[in-house]
């Protein structure tokens, strides 16, 4: 019907008797408050006056620099290995693909501390792989900055893989076929056609992985310990500062909050407008 009747349009704005029921409204507002109040508290109790001094202390800068370095390196590692892994999961069919996919997603739900223990057993000095690294190359991973990167990669890469795999599945595989008929090998088609097409998904996955790596605590402290300047990232610094210098902990937390908000702002088109 194309007759322009106004009544239904007005009714859609607010149908009589169709308000939000209290049984839903009350818990919804409680939930919202529960999520917001701690953040507000952080802002209220922040030592604003001493903040410049807190944030310019070398300890804070060391932790922040280390955090950014390790999270970015972990994200880069996740991209290098995770994008091909996502392609493998989305575009090929091999026996046990479902199982591999489940194993890839396991670190998403695994408590990070368990991940740290597992990393120690694998890459520790006496670990399954680590003993050979030590014996053959003299490489020791636990309690080093490299260890931090590995722990962060372990927990962050699944986020990237899942995000990129979803984008790949949504992307039309016939573009790769079109590339093939033009003479592109599978790897050329991936590089010149698929990769640009899924770039937004890769970017979103990378930001997600980076944020996860930045906040990583459990696996890092288990596998790499907490040595200032070497393995003490921001979250570890916050936790330790809280015990003897709460004001410093709050200042550090504010920095992480600011970073998180920046990440969210960067992702808003992808995540916040999704209905």
């Amino acid at each position: 019907m194309t007759t322009g009747r106004e009544a239904p349009r007005k009714a859609r704005l607010r149908a009589p008797g169709r308000g939000v029921p209290l049984a839903l409204l009350v818990p919804a507002l409680l939930g919202l408050a529960f999520l917001l109040v701690p953040l507000i508290a952080l802002l209220l109790r922040a030592p604003w006056r001493s903040l410049p001094e807190q944030l310019t202390s070398p300890e804070v800068w060391d932790a922040l620099r280390l955090s950014l370095l390790c999270a970015t390196t972990a994200t880069a590692l996740s991209l290098v290995a995770g994008v091909p892994l996502a392609w493998l999961l989305a575009r090929t069919d091999f026996p046990g693909r479902g199982l591999v996919r489940a194993l890839v997603t396991l670190p998403l739900v695994l408590p990070p501390v368990v991940g740290g223990v597992a990393l120690l057993l694998a890459l520790g000095r006496n670990g399954v792989v680590g003993q050979w690294l030590d014996a053959w190359f003299g490489v020791t991973l636990p309690f080093t900055t490299t260890g931090v990167v590995l722990a962060e990669t372990f927990v962050a890469m699944p986020f990237l893989v899942i995000s990129v795999e979803g984008t790949l599945r949504a992307a039309d595989p016939r573009y790769e076929e079109a590339a093939a008929t033009l003479g592109a090998s599978r790897s050329t088609a991936f590089r010149r056609v698929t990769l640009p097409l899924i770039a937004p998904g890769i970017a979103a996955g990378a930001v997600l992985a980076w944020a996860r790596a930045l906040g990583e605590f459990g696996a890092t402290i288990t596998f790499a310990g907490s040595f200032p300047g070497r393995t003490q990232t921001m979250p570890l610094a916050v936790y330790l500062a809280l015990q003897n210098d709460p004001a410093a902990a709050i200042a550090l937390s504010l920095v992480l909050l600011a970073v998180s908000i920046a990440v969210l702002a960067g992702l808003r088109d992808r995540w916040m407008t999704a209905s």
Binding site: Y175, A178, T181, L182, G183, A184, R192
Partner: protein, 363 residues
């Protein structure tokens, strides 16, 4: 519809020649079975015509190497392509919705093939610019596909496929994505490009007009098999299945001929001018049918059947009546005649066809 007359009636026979396409495409996929033999000489344009789901696109994908052959053979210019991956086949494809790479400009889309086949960036872009120019798209070289109209996209897709100098050009429903107005213009343009193309072109379509305008030879595919092949005019005159008869707008029946009579498998007999014996087809166009409300007394038509109106629809400026009864047939009449006869679904009618209006040919 009489189709487009082509002066050359010859059907090439490249079986012995090394040049061109010689294929038998067999694809088994569960309940679907495709078995289609295709042969064409360089310069030929062959149309695979058939209803949706007939297997036309599967045949095209098999030619391109995107769908593996279960069995059969595939030779292009004497080279066996069965084990050749798609990227190494000298085959160009224009996909139904073109599949232009959305992140590349028109120029880079066309340059993609030459680049992949070893040309340097500058050379590939120069060649692409040449192709776009030939397609009349020089000023759109820097446009991204989303900025191009349907007709322009189709030309970019054609340029992209041709830029690799394929020995076999495949077009999947090349005009299906276009609106009626653009279609006319693009069809004429595509016909010129295909006529100028020196290697084999195979196009897939479900539109008989596209097939007849663009192709020298039609291969009609139904349920994975070839039911008829020949020149457009040949197929338009002598349809061999219900589907083709409907496509070209003919009533078609199968029966046993005995002199000037064909006794139809469906029941009644049809008088014809041809003198035949054995299995035969009889065809007549819907506008050869005259309808009467009462049994006509003085009609000279020897073919007279008692029918009932099953449905009516407008067909151009005519009314097409679908009739059932002694013989199921379609009849075209003017709106005035339909009104005078008071034709309604369920109304009885007598249908008459003169013998001179029928056409019988061996089955």
């Amino acid at each position: 519809m009489t189709g487009i007359e082509k002066d050359s009636e010859h059907v090439p026979d490249p079986a012995g020649a090394a040049e061109g396409l010689d294929a038998r495409l067999v694809v088994d996929r569960g309940s679907f079975h495709l078995d289609v033999a295709l042969a064409a000489a360089p310069g030929d344009v062959v149309a695979l015509l058939g209803p949706n789901g007939a297997g036309k696109t599967t045949a095209l994908r098999a030619l391109a190497g995107l769908t593996p052959l279960s069995t059969g053979h595939l030779r292009l210019d004497g080279v066996d392509l069965r084990r050749t991956p798609p990227e190494s086949r000298p085959v160009g494809v224009v996909f139904q919705d073109y599949l232009l790479f959305p992140h590349l400009t028109a120029l880079d889309n066309v340059a993609f093939g030459p680049r992949c086949r070893g040309a340097g960036r500058t050379e590939a872009r120069a060649r692409a610019a040449e192709w776009l120019d030939r397609m009349g798209l020089a000023e759109h070289a820097d446009a991204k596909p989303r900025r191009l109209s349907g007709g322009q996209s189709q030309r970019v897709a054609l340029a992209r496929a041709l830029a690799t100098h394929p020995r076999l050009l495949l077009l999947d429903e090349p005009l299906a994505a276009l609106d009626a107005r653009t279609r006319l213009e693009v069809r004429a343009r595509l016909r010129r490009h295909l006529a100028a193309f020196e290697a084999v072109a195979v196009l897939v379509t479900h539109d008989p007009l596209d097939a007849m305008v663009l192709a020298d030879r039609l291969v009609v595919v139904e349920r994975g098999r070839i039911v008829q092949e020949g020149t457009p005019s040949d197929i338009a005159r002598h349809p061999r299945t219900e589907y083709i008869a409907q496509l070209v707008g003919l009533n078609l029946y199968r029966g046993q001929a005995e002199g000037h009579t064909v006794r139809l498998d469906a029941g009644p007999a049809v008088s014809t001018t041809e003198d035949l014996s054995g299995p035969a087809f009889v065809a007549f166009p819907p506008d050869a049918v005259t309808l009467y409300r009462e049994r006509p007394a003085g009609s000279s038509a020897r073919n007279l059947w008692r029918c009932e109106v099953a449905g009516l629809e407008t067909h151009g400026n005519r009314i097409r009546a679908e009739l059932t009864g002694e013989l199921a047939l379609a009849a075209d009449l003017t709106a005035v005649a339909a009104a005078e006869l008071d034709l309604r679904p369920g109304a009885p009618a007598w249908a008459a066809v003169k013998a001179t209006q029928t056409h019988a040919y061996p089955a």
